[in-house]
């Protein structure tokens, strides 16, 4: 059940009515409804792993309670390790087992040892990377005394399976979502209206930008051999836009739907393509994952490596971002994707500009030339890594890079899509960036956009977006890129 389907519209409308009209007075019943809806939503995508989701919830629920209860540090640690091994173990088995086996086989072959360990036919449960990270953060926060273990199983189970963000995030930490589940929700008209605007913007980004970009980028990445470098550059550029529009579009919708039912979940994107350096980019891109990894991986690592000064910091960041890469899936391409990003930080650390925060074009309409160059440079670096992120293998990515750096960069690009669609896609991208630029200081692009206009004009603008989605939206490729992670 994807957010862009009619089934989801009916599902959510029914849920909304029950939630606000039938169970309005009772927070436990509301939570129970959230839980049932979440399980239904998950089963709709793939019912086979619902039992896994429930088992993980049961185990972590009791582990949380006993970690908090136990007074002996040894038992506390033991229980925490059980939880961590379970979380990481589930991820390792479903997502990484075959990758390790394949890698071992390749190493053995290279050493001329002919052991052929067989891989397993494993289906990766949907949303596994998202819900396991939720349970891990829950246990770690209890262990550190940052939060109390919840005794209400409905609250905890709803937290693990919270449907708006179950399949593709944002990854909410327990301290963000559990307190909201525990308290009575009051319908906030303004927040809900803004949620609707955010959903509309998410739909525009997904259906008009991302899915139309996909029709151009898929043929380029699937058959790039022999294509001129200019086409490959267009492919890399549009793919970068596609990933952003697809994932941030999904996050916008997830946040919007959550706001409609009275929840404020973690912001996931903060206009990352306006970042002036890589460090800023990672503060704005997939925020919920980077803040998770920063809190539970980077901070402990940087403390451990603090005696090594800049070298320690570089090491901590490279490990941190390599983990971010691996999180996307068991492929060498993802590992390299994270590793390269880690390496991008090295000059920033050496020159001490990593933590420099300077708002772009503050109180101005346009950025300065220097800011513009910084943005362009950061985007180029990110685009470079999206080639490896999109490629099936590292070798394929290297072929792409090799073909990209050739004299045919000056030729006219060949786009398989018709000129009309390509023009519409480029124009839509321009409009998206223009609106996002104007709304860059807000929570999301449409948050305050056009608020000074007369209401009929503002509503006409919203109708125009709906019209654009219906006429120019691509309704064929409905999967979200990040739902595979």
């Amino acid at each position: 059940m994807v957010f862009t389907s009619l089934t989801f519209l009916l599902f959510f409308t029914t849920f909304f009515f029950l939630y606000w009209f039938v169970f309005k007075e009772n927070v436990t019943l509301q939570n129970l409804l959230v839980l049932i809806a979440s399980y239904l939503f998950y089963s709709w995508a793939d019912w086979r792993f619902l039992s896994l989701l429930i088992c993980i919830s049961i185990l972590n629920y009791y582990l949380g309670i006993y970690i908090e209860k136990s007074t002996k540090p040894k038992i506390k640690n033991l229980l925490l390790y059980v939880g961590l091994i379970q979380g990481i173990g589930v991820l390792a088995f479903f997502k990484y087992f075959n990758f390790f086996i394949d890698s071992f086989n390749e190493v053995f072959h290279a050493l001329n040892i002919h052991w052929n360990i067989h891989t397993l036919n494993i289906i990766i449960p949907l949303g596994i990377s998202f819900f396991t990270f939720r349970t891990i953060s829950y246990l770690l926060d209890i262990d550190k005394g940052k939060i109390h273990a919840t005794k209400d199983w409905i609250v905890f189970f709803s937290y693990v399976a919270f449907f708006p963000s179950l399949l593709s995030g944002p990854i909410d930490k327990a301290k963000t979502l559990i307190p909201q589940l525990e308290q009575k929700r009051i319908f906030d008209h303004d927040s809900a209206t803004d949620g609707m605007r955010q959903i509309l913007w998410g739909l525009f980004k997904k259906l008009v930008i991302a899915d139309n970009c996909a029709t151009i980028t898929n043929p380029i990445f699937e058959g790039h051999s022999g294509l001129p470098a200019s086409t490959l550059l267009v492919g890399a550029f549009l793919y970068s836009i596609q990933v952003y529009a697809d994932f941030s579009g999904y996050s916008d919708m997830a946040i919007g739907f959550s706001r409609l039912i009275g929840f404020n979940i973690t912001k996931n994107f903060d206009f990352p393509f306006f970042a002036q350096n890589i460090a800023e980019f990672w503060r704005k891109w997939h925020i919920s994952l980077t803040s998770w990894v920063t809190e539970y991986v980077f901070t402990p690592l940087s403390i451990k490596f603090r005696d090594y000064n800049n070298f320690g910091l570089i090491l901590a960041i490279v490990i941190n971002l390599t983990i971010v890469g691996i999180w996307h899936g068991a492929k060498w391409t993802n590992i390299f994707y994270g590793f390269i990003h880690g390496c991008y930080f090295i000059p920033l650390i050496i020159f001490g500009t990593m933590n420099k925060k300077k708002r772009i074009a503050k109180d101005k309409l346009l950025p300065s030339f220097r800011e513009f160059i910084n943005v362009l440079g950061t985007f180029s670096l990110v685009m470079f890594t999206f080639i490896i992120f999109r490629s099936e293998s590292v070798i394929e990515a290297f072929h792409y890079y090799r073909e990209l750096f050739s004299l045919s960069i000056f030729s006219v690009p060949h786009i398989s899509s018709d000129k009309y669609s390509a023009t519409i896609t480029v124009l839509s991208i321009f409009i998206m960036f223009a609106i996002e630029w104007l709304g860059r200081e807000q929570d999301h692009a449409l948050s305050q956009f056009g608020f000074k206009w007369p209401k009929p004009v503002l509503w006409s603008f919203y109708y125009l977006i709906v019209f654009t989605i219906l006429v120019f939206g691509s309704f064929e490729n409905r999967q979200f890129i990040y739902s595979q992670f």
Binding site: S5, L6, T7, H189, A192, Y463, L470, V471
Partner: protein
Amino acid sequence: MVTRFLLKILLFASPILLFLIYAEIGLSHVPTSYSILKENYYKREKELEVVFIGASDSQLGIAPKFFTNHTSYNLSNSSQSIFTCCRLIETNLERLPKLKLVVLCVSPILIFQSSGKGNVEQWREKFYYHFWNLQPEFSEPSLLWRFNIGLYEPKTVLLYGLKGYNKLTNPLLKNIDSLGWERGSSDNSTQALSNKAAKETVKFQLNGLETSSNRTIGYISELNSILKKKNIKLILVQLPISKYYLEEFPSEIVNKSKTVIDSLTISEHIPYYNFRYDTIYHDSDFRDVTHLNYRGAEKFSNELNKTLQTILD
């Protein structure tokens, strides 16, 4: 508060909802080959003894009106896959009390038709789901397909809403007779009969073909065993095709499909009649490189009629 919010949303959405209702009603009056074939078929289902089914070659090439001794119907349609053909028969079997024979028209293209991504005809699945309630072979059915507005691209729905939905009607649909035969648009046209046209057609058809035929052969075997239980015969037929197409079509695929069909007919005891290389058909019998015209269809239907008599009598 919630009610105020909902009223606001309703107010905003009402022009869109009204348009969607208008579009749904408008589109429900637009005839399609699927709706016409289904409507006429349901009118005759109680008396049908023979059903022909296949893709566009049999849709244009078999005219049930020339089968005088047995009531028959042509349920073929453009690019109708073996999967769809088999499922259409299976799911409607209970409604056909007099059915004695199913004639499944096959070709190398249908036998090796690609699955999933490579199949450019995948969009037709939503029409079969909508009109015949057939579960799709490749895609996940959407609730939207239950509605007429879900059958077309949103921009088509929107733009034709302004032009008038009647403009969406395919003018060729008037050529489908009450027995399911689509009479060739120009009876004796020899247009598009050339090696160049054949080359283009073959190139288009070969795009994304699979190397294995296990999937399609499995569907035919399944249909055969279901029909057997009901004492209904199944025969396979290959229709005549123009010499230009025969010259351009890769012989290795023809040989492969021959091997596959031969082994199927032997193991499943399904009679097979191959008219592909019949030399009595000339350029004047074809509408284009792959389809018979009116004259060719009449000639072939009479020929096929003789064959069927021997099976049915």
